[in-house]
Structure formats: C-alpha cells, structure tokens
Amino acid sequence: MKILIIEDEKELVKGMAQYLRQESYVCEVAYNVREAKEKILLFEYDCILLDISLPDGNGLQILEELKAANKSDGVIMITAKNSLDDRVKGLNLGADDYLSKPFYLPELSARVSAVIRRKKFDGNTKLVFREITVDLLGKTVMVNNQFVELTRKEYNLLIFLLSNKNRVVSKNAIAEHLSGDDAELLDKFDFIYSHIKNLKKKLTEAGAEDYVKTIYGLGYKFAA
C-alpha cells in the first residue's frame, strides 16, 4: 500500500509516516504543492493525506489536479482550520474524508485503512484477523464462523482496534473516535473501560483468543 503525505510540517510528517509504516504502508512525502503535483502525476497512491494550507498554495488545487487527471486515489484532507467551507469544497472535489488537526495517530490510521478498503477491495469487504472475521458491508462479526452480536459502539471499537493492531491506542484516542464531541464528557466516567470489557467478553465467549491487551496507564493494544 502506498501513501503520499502532503504536509509542510516536517516533524508532523515524520510522526505520521513512522506510525503508518508500522502498518506496513509505504509512505512518500511532498512538502509543497509543486512536489505534490509532480508525484501524483507520476505515481499511483492508495491514499493521499493532504494538508490544505501549504506554503506555495492551497491543497484544494491538488484535488482539482487529481480530478482533471481522472485519478481515483483516495484522499483524506487534513486541516488546521476545521472550516465547513473547505470541507464542503474538498468533498465536492472528490476527497474521501476530512480530519482536523490535532488528531491522534490511531485515528489517522483508522481513517486511512477505511479509505483504502473502500477504494481497493471492491466486492471484498471482509476484514480478517485470525479467527475473527468482520463483514464491513453487513456490519457483522464472526468468530470461527459463528455470528457475534455487538452493539454499534463495540463494532466501531473493534474496527478501530483492528486498524491499529499491534500498536498501543490510548483511551483518549478511543473515546474521541467513538464519541466525537461527547468525548469531552467521558473524562468524568470510565466509559471506554465498559465498552472494552464487553467487547472482550463477547469475543472470548464466542471462542476467540483474548487479543485486547490492557497496557498499564496508557490504554489498549490489539495483538496476537
């Protein structure tokens, strides 16, 4: 899987690339509009992470370029402005998703894998991890070919953990992913813990191994 990161902040690029490489993505970088335009015309990418404000122009120009060249690379816009205008313009120009700064790397990783799944595996919408199979279209989960009933939150949690497998995901990142704006409130209550507990219980009761590890003080890790 090839990912192009178009972003002018070198430190942020470094962090993003390092995290995504752990998921065995190949990451390339463009620091400005000029470099980005060269790269998108020369290569195909599975996913492009596009910062809207770049030193030599606006990221929306690149979206226009992609559209003009009839390229179907998945694009996730990243912006510091969180402006509705940019979001609407970007999505109209063919962007697949929108992420506002600051974000958690696990969130980025989950978005990237969602975009890639949508773009690449037309028809094949199954996510498999050992004995666990997730049907993304039907939103069902099977363990050893047996259906497991999960709530919407538990299902989202499982997908999120699977997209970040073998990496530690903090409680904050999970809370924000599951609840968005409501996450602010969740600080008061250990809401994540009960979701994790239920998910673990349902999966292990269906015969799966306990893959959700608690990492003391930090959060959780989905690993074999």
Binding site: L12, Y19, K101, L185, I215, L218
Partner: protein, 423 residues
C-alpha cells in the same frame, strides 16, 4: 432639556418682559400724543370762537346771548368773571355723561377773556379716549402679540430643531445603534455645516480606529488558534509514537498519559476559542428549518448511558417545534447545555430536560454557585478547576443565544440549577 428649548426659554422670557413693559410705555406715549393733538384743537377752537365773537355786530344783548350759548352748547362754556384773573391753561377733567350715566374724561381749555369790554371766563372742552378703554385695547393687542410671538417661536423652534439639528440626531441614532462587533461600519452624511461635519469626522475616526483594533484582535485570536493546531498535532503524534515503545516504565506511562490529557485539553480550548471567533465572524449564517425536539432526543439518547454510569438520572420531555436556524449552532448550543448539566451533577443526582412552549429548561441538582450568573457566562470563569472543563462552554452558549436572539436565563431553586432558553 433640549439645547434649543433652553435658548427658547431665554428668548421667551426676554420677549415677555419687553411686551409687558411696552404696555405702560405705549399707554403713556399715546396719551401724550392725543393730549397734544386735542390741546392744539382746543387752542384753534378758542381762537376762532373769540375772533368770531369780536366780529359779530348783530348781538343785541350780549349778556343774554352768551348765557344762551353757555346753556345750549355742550362743549363751550362762557360765564361772567367774578373778578379773578384766570390765565390761559389746559386741564383734564371728568364730566358726568347723563346719557351713559358715567364720568368721561375731557380736556378743557380755560382762560379769562374780554368780550366787548366785559370780563368772562371761557372754557372749551373736548372728549378724550377713555383711559380704561385705552388700557384694555393696548392690553388686548399686546396679548395677541405675545401669543403670536410664543406660538411662532415654538413653531420655528420645532421646525428648526428638526431641520438644523437633523444631522446631529442622525449621527446620534447611528452611534446608538453602533455595535463594535457588527460588521457594518458607521456611515455619516456630509452636512455642509462646519460643526456637524467636524463632529462626524471625529466620530468616524474614533469608531474606525476602534473597529480596526477590534478586528485585529479578533483576527489574532483566530490566527493564534489556527497556528497552535499544527504544533499540537505534532505533540500528539509524538506521544502516540512514544506510547509504542516497549521499554516504558509504569511511571513513564502515567506521565505520558498526563501529557496526552493536557494536550487534549489544550486542543479543546483551542477548538472552543476558534468556535467563538467563528460565531463572532458570522460564519454560521446559513439557516434551515430544523425540528429541534428530534435533535434533543438524539442528544439525550447519546448521553443517557454516559450519565447512567454515575447514577445520574435524566428526565426528558420535549414538544415538537420547527425552528429556522443554523443547524451547527443549535447543535452546539444544545450539546453544551446538556453537557454542562451532566458535568456539574454529582453522582446519583438528577437532570431534568423539558421543552415546551418554545422554552427549553435544563435543570440539574447541585450545590449553589458562588459567582453571579453574569460572571458564569463569561469566558474562562470556572468555579472549580476541573480538568474537564475549558471554561468556555457557557460562554459559547451565551454567544449563540446573543447571535440568534434567544433569551438565556439562569436561576437556582430548591437545590437545582435551572438554565432556560426561550427560542
């Protein structure tokens, strides 16, 4: 008191004094002129009478004739002298008017005269204008004058204040309506009157300068918030990477999480500040029709399990209402109010949300607050320094209510905080 009323008052007082003073003055001068005129007439009359008498030769019995004359004539009296020498003189006398049964003023010329060798006293009288009548007429005329003067001045004053002071009142109206945070600058007309143009120029200059400073400040807050997002993103990314290290000690892990919590809080602060400046900048002008009880229901359903964890019960009741408003703003308004209620409810407390007759009431149990309700809606005013809260939630609620012209109120009753919003 208005400026023109003040000057008018002085003018009126002056005119009044003048008019009142003019009554005796005119009375006196008119009387003098009349007397003079009458005296001249009497003089002429006497002169002619005497010369005629001297020329007449057919008078048979002068004494009898003169007596007849004295008896018959109304205004000529001639009597034989009693020997006293009477010089020629004028005087004003009162004579009884038998027809009208009253005394009337007369001017009388008298003198001792010599007719055909005999001494007589001749007096000739002429009626004068009645003093009372004169006073009456003059008073009436002057009163009419006063009325006309006052009415005229009042009318002129009103039309003047309307015309001449129009630019001033225009400026005043604009200044009253002027709001620094509204995007429209003040626009003042050119009046061609030096004082007003000067005033307008100064006012424009002052408001323009204030606006510029205000806009710069607003822009600065927005830019600062934007610029902070990227370093924050780097900070969070590095923390996420550090978390993957297998050699972290437990103490390191806890420090790491504390760092992440802090970063998260900073990011939230930033987002709320941005939101405030966006509302200020009127970036939520698009309105649509929204059925808000559905919106409330969704929020309620999301929050109920969260609140349930702490044993907080939420009672919810809402009437349907379609409102023309900005959807993001309404969502933020409701979310912030609901969150605020839940956040400040202690374990096993209760929250009551009711929406009827366009009034949303959100009540939650809790201790009374120390600060005033006004202070509560200000930015960064927090009762306790809980990490959770940015201190901006209610400020945002207030800002949205101000922008959309909803009435926001707070009261504390029977151990519960009540927030009401009238849509």
């Amino acid at each position: 008191m208005r400026l023109l009323q003040r000057s008018l008052r002085t003018l009126l007082l002056y005119s009044l004094i003048l008019v009142v003073l003019s009554i005796p003055v005119s009375l006196f001068s008119i009387r003098e002129i009349l007397n003079e005129e009458v005296d001249e007439n009497l003089d002429l009359h006497a002169d002619q009478f005497l010369s005629h008498i001297k020329k007449f030769t057919y008078l048979d019995d002068l004494e009898t004739d003169l007596e007849v004359l004295d008896q018959l004539s109304y205004n000529i009296h001639i009597r034989p002298s009693d020997g006293r020498l009477i010089p020629e003189h004028f005087e004003t006398i009162s004579v009884y008017d038998s027809a009208e049964h009253e005394y009337r003023p007369f001017r009388q010329w008298s003198s001792g005269v010599d007719i055909k060798g005999k001494s007589y006293i001749l007096s000739i009288q002429m009626s004068l204008v009645d003093n009372d009548q004169l006073v009456l007429v003059i008073s009436v005329v002057q009163t009419v004058l006063i009325v006309l003067l006052v009415a005229g001045l009042l009318f002129l004053n009103r039309s003047l204040s309307r015309k001449i002071w129009k630019p001033f009142y225009d400026t005043l109206t604009q200044l009253k309506a002027y709001e620094l945070d509204k995007s429209k600058p003040i626009e003042l007309e050119v009046t061609n009157i030096v004082e007003f143009d000067d005033l307008n120029k100064t006012v424009s200059l002052l408001t323009d300068r204030n606006r510029k400073v205000f806009l710069q400040q607003k822009e600065f807050i927005e830019n600062a918030s934007h610029e902070l997002q990227t370093p924050l993103a780097i900070f969070l990314a590095k923390l996420d990477l550090l978390m993957q290290s297998p050699t972290l000690s437990e103490a390191d892990s806890i420090t790491l999480m504390e760092l992440e919590d802090t970063a998260k809080r900073m990011s939230r602060l930033n987002k709320n500040l941005l939101l405030l400046s966006k509302i200020d900048n009127e970036q939520f002008v698009e309105k649509e029709e929204i059925e808000i009880s559905t919106l409330m229901h969704e929020l309620f359903n999301n929050l109920r399990p969260v609140a349930g964890l702490e044993g907080i019960t939420i009672a919810f009741q809402a009437e349907e209402l379609v409102l023309l408003c900005s959807k993001p703003l309404i969502e933020i308004l409701l979310t912030n109010l609901f969150h605020n209620a839940i956040r400040h409810t202690t374990s096993n407390g209760r929250v009551i949300i009711s929406f009827k007759e366009r009034i949303l009431t959100i009540s939650n149990s809790g201790q009374p607050i120390q600060m005033t309700p006004e202070k509560m809606f200000e930015r960064f005013s927090k009762e306790n320094t809980s990490i959770n809260s940015t201190g901006l939630g209610l400020a945002i609620v207030k800002k949205i209510c101000d922008t959309c012209q909803y009435a926001l109120n707070y009261r504390y009753e029977e151990g519960m905080h009540h927030f009401t919003v009238k849509f």
